[in-house]
Assembly symmetry: C2
Homo-oligomer: 244 residues x 2
């Protein structure tokens, strides 16, 4: 039987989603818990390989296992008792044997949180970046709209990443402010490596008046990484939802 | 010169506000930072001695020091560079030489956060308690109103605490729900030891139907700790604001 899980995690203490030699990762912890519950070696595949320090509220993870005596609706509760408190399964459903959580995804939504204040806030420091400088949220909102649609996002990916095409479709890119918290919400069919964090950096540059909103279409067309904004740090980024 | 600071902290990794032998405390860290900035031994006094694991967004802290060359408006920024990232000074103002942050306080506001969902949320686990059981928020709101006013709160304090009077005045006790987060907000002239956490436990018992709202006046009158609800764990509690 093949299972699709919804998984939340605080990425602060992990070297990202994917298993690796030199850091503890979310995948490693989750596979250890599932292996304990199913009494068999469980290998997982995630919809998104979140980077070190990036969080998730709606990561999706698939695995296959021989039938288990635990009813599927009890699986989150039972497996969570084998997980550290910074990782939790919030839902489990059966899927077909060929289900691939990455390629079947229709839409992914990421949020990037910016604590825009003169004063740091220790209570949200793990999931938002502190930004004490001037930002014009109106300019950020205007710039965000320029990312929507199907574009070649080669200017908005980390160097060294290797993919067949750099064309991606952004369904919505929006900026909202609630008190001192600015949240950039980006939904799209797929994302290049570091794309959400580079878009966040470009919107901050727009809010500072360093990149005019009207220049963004030309920066996209240039395919030149050096013309886009900085890659923002990982802790502001959360994978919110994946739609199938 | 005497200073009044506004201080925020994530209490997760501290043995509470007050200096003690067997744990690192917020007071110890803050005094070390101020001592470094002022080049003299600084001793502080706080408005509220928050317990181990309790957080603050608006703790107030006083100290006296010989005049310092740093302009007072720069003091938070300069001192924060000597503090770990889970403690931050957010404001500094001059006060009179006799100012006592505890006795001058007119009103303190605490929030108690409850993540009311079937699923834990790792991203808010440090500042909210997870409660996956039935709660009727309407019953909680009704019960909360019964705490407002001037009462003898002897039934709502931890055993062993020693004060001249157990009469306190609660200005407002309210419950709100935003998505899966239930927040109990309690404002009052002063609080007995563990009083906010015991009121939170009593409101949860009310929401579960274990303590009827109409019984609360009688529980208050009884002065009997065993009739009130449980003391809720510290991580849900945040000292929000102190008014002078």
């Amino acid at each position: 039987m093949r299972y699709l899980l919804t998984v939340s995690y605080d990425g602060t203490n992990y070297g990202g989603w994917q298993r690796q030699k030199n850091a503890i990762t979310v995948q490693e912890r989750l596979e250890a818990a599932l292996t304990a519950v199913f009494h068999q070696t469980v290998k997982t595949a995630a919809a998104s390989r979140t980077d070190a320090g990036v969080h998730a509220l709606g990561q999706r993870v698939c695995f296959s296992a021989k039938d288990c005596k635990i009813p599927i609706e009890k699986l989150p509760l039972v497996t969570n008792s084998h997980l550290p408190e910074d990782i939790a399964i919030t839902a489990a459903e059966p899927v077909d044997d060929q289900f691939n959580p990455r390629f079947r995804a229709r839409e992914k939504t990421y949020h990037y949180n910016i604590w825009h204040s003169n004063c740091p806030n220790p209570l949200i420091r793990r999931t938002a970046v502190f930004f004490p400088y001037h930002l014009d949220v109106g300019l950020m909102k205007e710039a965000a709209k320029a990312f929507e649609g199907k574009h070649d996002f080669a200017a908005f990916r980390a160097a060294g990443s290797n993919v067949l095409t750099t064309v991606r479709e952004i369904h919505e890119c929006a900026v909202r402010k609630d008190g001192s918290m600015i949240t950039i919400s980006i939904s799209g069919g797929g994302f290049l490596y570091n794309m959400a964090r580079i878009i966040a950096g470009t919107l901050i540059a727009a809010g500072q008046g360093k990149i005019p909103a009207m220049d963004i279409p030309e920066i996209i067309r240039s395919r030149d990484r050096t013309r886009a904004g900085k890659t923002m740090p990982p802790q502001g980024l959360t994978l919110i939802e994946i739609k199938y």
